[in-house]
């Protein structure tokens, strides 16, 4: 992590929601950032920016990856602190969407910014050409649009738009900073209205809402179709409007109508007198502007919904559409289904796909940019051209023809061929010229899929696989549901620990799945526990422990590359790796206590050893034990990789990668660096205090129970944990090996599994996804 050469210091101007959040994300990347807003009245002229930083610390989901990162943001005001900009390499403007005000600001920036610095605007509605009009040529050369999506920490898309005069190296620097430092999927867009994602996304939104109304679907039915079945977030189209705010709708639609050519399908299809417009206007007027207000299309936390027929709210009736069930076998099955859901899906999808296909190369040079923008900016599972491939480009063209609708040129160019294909081990895409070109894969930014293409796995089973990723490095990939760890995963971990026998010199663990691992498959465990299959469960624990120990002491380096959920047994894999290269969005924790268990695959052991041997700790055996006890007994999960360091789940030497697409490459580089002259760690021994520490921990828990902060079963679980962490029946003079503490883990784990309350917790977690407080 750290700044790419060229941009080492950043300024964000405008401390509104977007400006502040962009500044926060720059801070997340470890880059100092100045946040300026207009000077306020009163004593503290910088209070706007300061207030914005305070809000950052309270906003959920958190824009900052660690509260301490707020210190990387220097607040100021445009009157007194404009000079701070002089040291900045990139100045990002995120002020009100008024062209005159922006231009005036730019003129002031020109007076202070250093030569060669880059200025960008986060505008979503004003063409770049308009913004640079009247500015001096030097400004235009340094100017671009950097369009972030809200919230910038979490939405992966960054559209970068250069103007005719923009320096190529300035654009390259922005792209590189956006990609490597900020971790964004940077898409090159053109100076066209709404750029890429909003151009298609707003059209999609209007189309989907109006068609639902016109075709007589209820809001629930529409959201059930334009949701998971169509590969978009399950909020659906009306739920999404509630989330982003109904009041935003008329503004964005209005600006699109103003900017787009009159011949654009968005404009020609727009009906100002559509009843939905009046309905929305009334909702906004009544304060129903979405989740941030009294409600929107839904209210009362999604329990009530607006009824189109009556214009009033009524209880939600879950949609029962056969087409939605049919969608399980694919997008085509959905749009071909004869029920109203299927007809609706066809209307929306066909219009949107036609619209998108008509826009290449107008708004983007290639289909890659369009698909990436919709995936990363609107969280679609697949972009429009991927969706066309699901239907078949020929099938779609024929169906459009049959309905008497014009066929987009790009679809005719495709002439029945797919937009994407794999050939000769290469991933290809169809260019607007009608030829296939290889999808570029950078040597330092790739997915596991890129490495797997055209290869057989080295070894594997139904739950996990080992892949050759080149240069003598192997990659262990988990591919169960939610990457849960089962017996097969453990078996492959054990096999991976011997990969040197096959000539490999390093191993990384990771993949392309959303989550690194949600932990052990507790469903299988629960069934076995209900069946009283104790020997099987004990065996499972012992096998996991020995597999993880084999990883730790393997004669080659092991680097784990976690991303997103890295819980329980998944977290324990990381704990046993020589190094961790974590994605910045890694949510790590030993969460077993939540389901009434203690970590059983060496998590307790590794963490208590880590804490005890931590030289920075205060003296005495108790503080490290107490810290680990708190982390595990309260099932703490880090909200980022940065926070995982606080919990000792990441060590100071473990790395963080901002861009998920660079994670495996970084991990591999790390593994190769370690492989030179690698020596496995020496087994450690520690001394734990035994009964005295256990009594102290038990007493603390007793206090929490009395205060009502811990439940009866929390006490049982914490008691079992205290016994493990204090070393069982030992005393401070005795040295304990890892195996000794792991034996305690096994014993505690199985004893808890035999309690009803633990089994109830597991069952509740599986059935509701929420912890049971019993």
């Amino acid at each position: 992590m750290g700044a790419a050469p060229g941009i080492a210091r950043v300024a964000v101007i405008g401390s509104g929601v977007m400006g502040a959040a962009i500044a926060a994300h720059v801070a997340n990347a470890g880059v100092p950032v100045v946040l300026l807003d207009i000077a306020a009245e009163g004593a503290d002229r910088s209070k706007l920016a300061k207030g914005a930083i305070d809000r950052l610390l309270k906003t959920k989901p958190a824009p900052l990856m660690h509260p301490s990162f707020a210190r990387r943001i220097t607040p100021g005001n445009l009157e007194d602190d404009l000079g701070l900009i002089a040291a900045c390499d990139w100045i990002c403007e995120a002020i009100i969407e008024k062209v005159e005000i922006k231009r005036a600001l730019y003129q002031r920036l020109q007076t202070v910014r250093k030569p060669g610095s880059i200025v960008s605007s986060n505008t979503s509605t004003i063409p770049l050409a308009e913004l640079v009009r009247g500015q001096d040529p030097g400004f235009a050369a340094d100017f671009a649009i950097t369009h972030f999506f809200n919230p910038p920490r979490y939405m992966r898309l960054l559209e970068v738009v250069g103007g005719a005069q923009t320096r190529a190296d300035a654009l390259a620097a922005l792209r590189r900073f956006g990609d490597e430092t900020l971790g964004k999927e940077v898409v090159a867009a053109k100076d066209t209205p709404g750029f890429i994602a909003n151009r298609i996304g707003i059209y999609w939104s209007v189309t989907a809402m109006e068609a639902a109304f016109d075709q007589g679907l209820s809001i629930e039915e529409a959201d059930a179709v334009v949701g998971r079945p169509m590969g978009v977030p399950k909020t659906g189209i009306f739920g999404l409007a509630d989330l982003t705010g109904l009041d935003l709708g008329p503004h964005v639609v209005g600006s699109m109508l103003k900017l787009l050519p009159k011949s654009d399908a968005f404009v020609t299809a727009y009906r100002p007198d559509h009843p939905l417009n009046a309905l929305t206007a009334r909702l906004i007027a009544d304060g129903y502007i979405g989740r941030k207000g009294k409600g929107g299309f839904y209210r009362d936390r999604g329990k009530e919904v607006l009824d189109f027929a009556t214009g009033t709210y009524r209880p939600v009736v879950p949609a029962e559409l056969d087409s939605v069930k049919a969608a399980k076998s694919g997008l085509k099955a959905l749009v071909e289904h004869p029920d109203k859901g299927g007809r609706y899906a066809w209307t929306v999808l066909s219009r949107v796909l036609v619209y998108a296909a008509d826009l290449v190369p107008e708004i983007a040079d290639d289909i890659l940019a369009v698909d990436a923008a919709m995936r990363c900016g609107y969280a679609w599972k697949e972009g429009p051209f991927q969706q066309i491939d699901r239907l078949g480009s020929g099938w779609l063209a024929e169906k459009l023809k049959a309905e008497g609708r014009p066929v987009p040129r790009l679809l005719e160019i495709a002439a029945g061929r797919p937009f994407y294909k794999i050939e000769g081990g290469k991933a290809l895409y169809l260019t607007p010229g009608g030829d296939y070109a290889e999808i570029p894969v950078a040597p330092d930014a790739w997915t596991l899929a890129d490495k797997k293409r055209g290869r057989e796995r080295i070894a594997g089973n139904r739950s996990a696989s080992l892949w050759d990723i080149g240069d003598g490095v192997a990659c262990l990939e988990i591919h169960t549901k939610m990457n849960a760890i089962d017996g097969d995963v453990i078996a492959l971990v054990a096999q991976a620990a011997k990969i040197d026998k096959r000539g490999y010199k390093a191993l990384i663990i990771g993949g392309d799945a959303d989550n690194f691992s949600v932990g052990a498959n507790i469903g299988l465990g629960l069934f076995a526990a209900n069946l009283a299959l104790w020997p099987v469960l004990e065996g499972g624990i012992a096998e996991g422990q020995s597999a993880y120990m084999a990883l730790k002491y393997a004669p080659f380096p092991v680097v784990a590359a976690p991303a997103r959920m890295t819980l329980g047994g998944g977290c324990e894999i990381c704990l046993h790796s020589d190094a961790v290269q974590a994605h910045a969005e890694t949510y790590m924790g030993l969460v077993e206590a939540g389901v009434g268990l203690v970590p059983g695959w060496g998590g307790c052991t590794e963490l208590v050893i880590r804490a005890t041997l931590n030289k920075k700790r205060p003296g005495g055996p108790m503080p490290p034990i107490a810290q680990v006890f708190e982390t595990i007994s309260t099932a703490k999960v880090s909200a980022s990789a940065a926070e995982a360091r606080d919990l000792l789940l990441l060590r100071p030497g473990d790395g963080i990668t901002m861009n998920r697409r660079r994670l495996l490459a970084d991990a591999k580089a790390r593994a190769l660096a370690l492989a030179a002259d690698y020596k496995p760690p020496a087994p450690v021994e520690i001394n734990l205090p035994g009964a005295t520490a256990r009594a102290a921990l038990d007493m603390a828990v007793e206090g929490f129970v009395r205060q009502g902060k811990a439940t009866a079963h929390d006490k049982v679980v914490a008691g079992a944990l205290a016994k493990v962490l204090s070393g069982g029946d030992t005393d401070i003079t005795r040295s304990l090996k890892e195996q000794d503490i792991m034996a305690l883990e096994r014993e505690a784990f199985v004893s808890l599994l035999k309690t009803n309350a633990t089994l109830d917790r597991i069952e509740h977690m599986l059935e509701t996804g929420k912890p049971l407080r019993n």
């Binding site: 469903g523 629960l526 069934f527 209900n530 069946l531 009283a532 299959l533 089994l759 599986l766 059935e767």
Partner: protein, 597 residues
């Protein structure tokens, strides 16, 4: 003519030695049933069934019911017997005191049921169905409905029925056609044909309360659109007196293989007035809450018929002289030895005995669990009991009726050619028992319910209440010098097979439902044997303790130990074969194309 003597000694053993019912005097209703009261009830019950019901069993079988222009006449003596039953208040035994019941524990009622089924199963079905109707209205009816119907059902002045089956819809109730049209006054007009309605029409009581499943037009398709209705034969006036005849008529009665004394009717509903019970379209849920009880009741029928068949076979085997013992003459003063000396006769008698005594103990333990699930003050204990009842119910229904039927068959076999002759009464038991494998959900459906619904429910939570206590029992007793080697170790082996087979089904069945379906019936049997093994090991432990304490009736307890050993040695090993069958998979079962059959 067959004879019957209620197994009171065995009831007392299960209640007092095994279950130790005194421990639960804190539960509502239990304090009202101290040992002496229970003894008195059982003795009274035994007198009723031995003196009044048993003598009518063959009469009912020979005469059957008679149908004449919508009226059904029960066999000679049934009406008088029913009056005796009703006047003595037997229908009120376990019913809610709020509606005239005595509120006694279910486990007591179960013993009375078994006795009645032994003595005269066809007769016992009349009050049995009333109890089903009572349970449905009690669980789901409005206060008004409860006040109107329950006291009369409890007192037996009225009887009840359950109407599910239609000509085109048996197991698959989603195919139901009977419709219920709302009348605007809260009532419904019920139109359709129901078949196989036990006790659907008869001359025993002044009114019949039909509980009818029907579909309200416009409701959800299939099983989700079924609602439950009360349709009385005679409408009830606001003052509780009987009003006009409702639009339900018996079209004919069935001519059946057995239970001739019970009227099995075709009921035609022609715009009959019905009243919704519970919520519209939630009829199946209402049915399911009483299904456990009804299914256990059928299991007890299987046990009851098996018991009486066994008793007669044992008597016959001691009397009948044929051949000499293989090991030398046993009755030199007689022309031949009684057949009870022959190992193969012993095989049959011991098999029957090990089944009936084990099944009885298991059924009564389950009866107690039903009491827990309804009456226990602790919510967790209620849930645990409910879980186990839900798991055991399909097994008890199917296994007790399959083995019950098999027992009647073995008993008949002991009689040789005489078993095949009507006069001896043994073939009636076989015919009567046969229906229990079919109705209230065929045994194949029970196996599917066990494997498809009960096992996966809450990720195997229902299994916990079975497996954990059994696991503990094994761990605590396997080293016991008195019972460890003989009783506990075989049980431990069988339990391990059960665990493996369950895990196998859970793993395979999830991905391929046909695998679970193919395994279901064998799995149910495996489960039953392990459950019986557990109860036999418990009984052996108790019997051994009683003997060690110098109990009076040594012969009784020694017999328990021997029977327990027989079960462990000669019945429980079937679990190995069952496990092998289950884990062989579905392939050979499903491979042939349908037209190859």
């Amino acid at each position: 003519m067959p004879t019957y003597e209620a197994p009171l000694k065995d009831y007392r053993f299960v209640l007092n030695d095994l279950i130790q019912i005194d421990r639960y005097a804190n539960l509502p209703g239990f304090a009202d049933a101290p040992r002496e009261t229970v003894d008195a009830i059982l003795e009274e019950g035994a007198r009723l069934v031995q003196e009044v019901l048993a003598p009518l069993n063959q009469v009912g079988d020979r005469e059957g019911c008679h149908f004449d222009q919508g009226r059904v006449t029960t066999p000679t003596g049934f009406k008088a017997a029913y009056d005796t039953y009703r006047e003595a208040g037997w229908g009120a035994l376990t019913a809610d005191p709020a509606y005239g019941g005595q509120g006694l524990p279910h486990v007591i009622g179960m013993m009375v049921s078994e006795m009645m089924c032994s003595a005269n199963m066809a007769f016992a079905m009349y009050p049995g169905l009333s109890h089903g109707a009572y349970a449905a209205i009690h669980a789901h009816g409005t206060d008004e409905q409860k006040q109107m119907y329950l006291p009369k059902l409890v007192s037996g002045v009225w009887t009840g029925t359950m109407n599910l089956t239609e000509p085109q819809c048996g197991t698959d109730l989603g195919l139901m056609r009977t419709k219920a049209e709302p009348q605007g006054d809260g009532s419904y007009r019920i139109t359709g044909t129901k078949i196989f309605i036990s006790a659907g029409e008869h001359d025993l009581a002044e009114n019949i309360v039909h509980l009818v499943l029907a579909k309200i037009p416009g409701g959800p398709a299939g099983i989700k659109g079924v609602s439950l209705f009360i349709v009385p034969k005679f409408l009830i006036n606001p003052d509780g007196s009987l009003g006009a005849r409702n639009g339900v008529a018996c079209g004919s009665i069935e001519h059946k293989m057995g239970i001739h004394g019970n009227s099995t009717c075709v009921l035609n509903y022609d715009g009959a007035t019905g009243y919704l019970v519970g919520e519209a379209h939630k009829g199946m849920r209402a049915m399911f809450t009483m299904m456990n009880e009804a299914r256990l009741g059928v299991g007890v029928q299987g046990l009851g018929v098996a018991e009486v068949a066994y008793q007669n076979a044992a008597i016959y085997a001691r009397d009948r002289l044929q051949m000499r013992s293989l090991s030398g003459v046993k009755a030199p003063d007689k022309p031949a030895d009684p057949i009870i000396v022959h190992p193969d006769i012993r095989r049959m008698l011991m098999t029957m005995r090990a089944f009936t005594e084990g099944a009885r103990a298991l059924a009564l333990q389950t009866g107690l669990l039903i009491d827990f699930s309804l009456r226990h003050p602790d919510a967790q204990a209620r849930r645990d009991a409910d879980d186990l009842v839900a798991l055991l119910t399909p097994m008890l229904k199917a296994y007790l009726t399959d083995s019950g039927f098999e027992t009647t068959n073995l008993a008949l076999q002991c009689y040789g050619g005489h078993g095949y002759i009507q006069e001896w009464g043994m073939e009636q038991f076989v015919r009567d028992a046969r229906i229990t494998q079919i109705y209230e959900g065929t045994n194949g459906i029970q196996a599917l319910d066990l494997v498809g619904r009960k096992l996966p429910m809450h990720m195997g939570r229902l299994l916990r209440q079975f497996c954990h206590p059994l696991d503990r029992f094994i761990r605590e007793n396997s080293a016991d010098p008195a019972i460890g080697k003989t009783y506990v170790l075989p049980l431990a082996r069988a339990f391990a097979r059960f665990q493996q087979a369950t895990a196998w089904i859970a793993e395979r069945g999830l991905a391929r439902p046909d695998e679970a379906g193919a395994a279901a019936s064998d799995y149910l049997k495996l489960f039953a044997l392990v459950a019986l093994g557990h109860v036999w090991a418990q009984m052996a432990k108790v019997a051994g303790e009683k003997l060690a304490q110098g109990a009076d009736d040594r012969a009784f307890y020694e017999a328990k130990l021997v029977t327990a050993r027989f079960f462990m040695e000669r019945m429980l090993p079937d679990t190995a074969a069952l496990q092998a069958k289950i884990q062989a998979g579905a392939e050979s079962m499903m491979a042939l194309p349908a037209d190859a059959f």
